[in-house]
């Protein structure tokens, strides 16, 4: 898909314009313009309380937007919800089931609740979905006997109950064991391979980095950045890291070369590379008589970008 095609209308799986949701005085979602290209695996990042889940709830028509408009799969929402939502699979804030029904009975109940029952294919679709998430063996056990990870899998089975063009997965690996997390990652790739757009909200950056083609970062209800992951990850500066006993001289040399944001920690000097080649820096350091123990160019990770955008704080923002 070309960039121009992705920007034109109709090739965006999710598009919002000035989407705002206020609870009283507080804007939980504050005028966001989200563009999720068709076919992307889109990581939706943000600290706790940044408005990710509220955005997802508005997108799916669970709560009313205060302002702004949005489209899903090229259809205006919430007017076309009845037509669009059958093509959208969702896992919102964890799975929810009737504990007194079996896994299979739960899937039947939700499938039957839609406007397009398709009863003739139901059994096959449920069998396929259960097999896909590895729950076939416990399908006729009551959900109250399921572990949290099993419920999460059943939630995914529900999202996969029919062919979907868009999957909205809110923290899908929450509460899963490492093996389950791996399976989810593979499943996400598989679904994307089949042509579905996957909108994945997460706070696990390594997770997002491994599967996503695009990312958006939210903080305090605002959309701070969005785009292809390579562009966003590259936005933070590449750092040069020098280990030496001649810290003072090394700092002078790097300063002379014009490297910014120098910092010293013990026997380590850090600086922004700002387009300088690491090998040039090394030569200058050695010529100045600095004993270089090691010299590394540190490429920025998504985490660096994320922290640069949202800040270090561990506290919930509000």
């Amino acid at each position: 898909m070309t960039g121009t095609a992705a920007q034109s209308r109709g090739t965006l799986a999710i598009e919002t314009q000035g989407l705002t949701k206020r609870f009283g005085d507080m804007a939980a979602v504050d005028g966001i313009d989200l563009s999720v290209p068709v076919g992307s695996v889109f990581g939706f990042l943000g600290p706790n309380g940044s408005g990710k889940t509220t955005t997802i709830r508005v997108l799916l028509g669970l709560i009313n937007a205060s302002e702004g408009s949005w489209e899903l799969l090229g259809q205006p929402m919430p007017d076309r919800a009845r037509r669009v939502l059958p093509d959208v699979g969702a896992l919102i804030e964890g799975p929810a089931f009737y504990p007194w029904l079996t896994g299979r009975q739960n899937l039947v109940r939700f499938d039957a609740a839609g406007p397009d029952a398709q009863r003739s294919t139901r059994k096959r679709r449920i069998d396929d979905a259960l097999a896909r998430v590895g729950l076939t063996a416990v399908a006729s056990k009551k959900v109250k006997t399921y572990s949290f990870g099993m419920r999460q899998r059943l939630g995914l089975a529900l999202a996969l109950l029919r062919p979907r063009q868009l999957l909205v997965l809110d923290e899908p690996t929450n509460g899963m064991d490492p093996q389950g997390t791996r399976e989810i990652r593979n499943l996400t790739k598989e679904l994307a391979g089949e042509g579905a757009t996957v909108f994945l909200s997460s706070h696990l950056l390594s997770e997002v980095e491994q599967v996503c083609t695009h990312v958006a970062v939210m903080s305090l209800g605002k959309l701070l950045a969005q785009g292809p992951i390579a562009e966003l990850a590259g936005a933070a500066a590449t750092r040069l890291r020098v280990e030496t006993d001649d810290v003072a001289v090394a700092t002078q040399v790097l300063e002379r070369l014009g490297l910014a944001e120098l910092s010293v920690e013990g026997t380590t000097v850090l600086a922004n590379l700002d387009g300088h080649r690491p090998e040039d820096c090394n030569r200058e350091l050695v010529l100045a008589g600095v004993g270089v123990r090691s010299l590394t160019a540190i490429r920025p990770t998504l985490e660096d970008t994320f922290v640069a955008l949202t800040g270090e704080g561990f506290d919930v923002a509000r």
Binding site: L60, N64, A96, Y98, P99, R109, F110, P115
Partner: protein
């Protein structure tokens, strides 16, 4: 969707237990009459003193005993849970994104609660009938007016009575449905609904609020007994059904107005 909804409701242990208790009430009553022996003084509740003559009356006596307290309580539990229970489980968000449609979901819930009201009264009638047939003689039925009708017609009128009691509960059920759209806490909705039933019954027994009496949804609850007169006295039953329709119209509309625009955060 209605079938799936009904299956979800009636597979629940709580609902099975409630229906079991309802069926046990008239059965226990019949056993009590059996062991107390012989015809009573005639000062007991309506129909109770006829049970020992004709076991069929255990069903009607059961309805009379159950309607002031047990049936409203059970209906409050199921109707108050209708929407708030889904919100509490979190299943509401998955139903709505399926999408079930808010109006459609509410209509399905209303129909399910109505079916449950009927199931509840039929459980009482069946429990009484079975116990009555086992413990007492059964035969031609003497009506409250002193005339005699065939057993078949008596049975028919008994089940018609169960149907009318079920319909009498629909006003309360629609209040419960409305309350359940207001909260995500099912216990609160159940308690509030049961509270309305108690309030209505209390006001109906206070002479000072006589002006309110015809408008209380509990006021005509015992009118089903008029089915056992000869000829059948329809006026009380008609007034009852008309009043219930009024409550349904008001509270179903309120429930719809609330639920169709509500932010679902659960």
């Amino acid at each position: 969707m209605l079938l799936a909804e009904l299956a979800t409701l009636f597979r629940r242990l709580r609902v099975k237990a409630l229906l079991g208790v309802l069926a046990a009430i008239p059965a226990a009553l019949a056993v009590a009459v059996y062991f107390s022996g012989g015809p009573s003084s005639g000062r007991g509740p309506t129909f109770l003193d006829q049970v020992s003559h004709n076991g069929m009356f255990a069903a009607l006596a059961g309805l009379t005993i159950a309607i002031p307290f047990f049936l409203p309580l059970v209906v409050a539990v199921v109707s108050g849970d209708a929407i708030s229970g889904e919100a509490n489980l979190g299943t509401l968000r998955y139903l709505l994104t399926r999408p079930s449609g808010r109006t459609r979901l509410l209509a399905t819930k209303a129909a399910t609660v109505a079916v449950f009201c009927l199931a509840a009264t039929v459980a009482v009638a069946l429990g009484g009938l079975i116990a009555g047939v086992i413990l007492f003689p059964v035969g031609r039925v003497v009506t409250l007016s002193g005339t005699t009708i065939s057993l078949a017609e008596g049975m028919l009128r008994t089940f018609a009575a169960a149907g009318i009691v079920a319909a009498s509960l629909l006003g309360l059920a629609s209040i419960g449905l409305f309350v359940s759209t207001l909260t995500d806490a099912p216990v609160g909705a159940m308690a509030a609904t049961a509270g309305f039933a108690v309030l209505s019954a209390v006001l109906d027994n206070v002479p000072q609020t006589r002006a309110l009496h015809p408008w209380l949804f509990t006021h005509h609850w015992l009118s089903f007994g008029d089915l056992l007169r000869s000829p059948v006295q329809w006026s009380g039953i008609v007034a009852d059904l008309r009043l219930q329709l009024g409550y349904i119209a008001v509270f179903a509309t309120a429930a719809w107005a609330r639920f169709s625009t509500k932010d679902v955060l659960a």
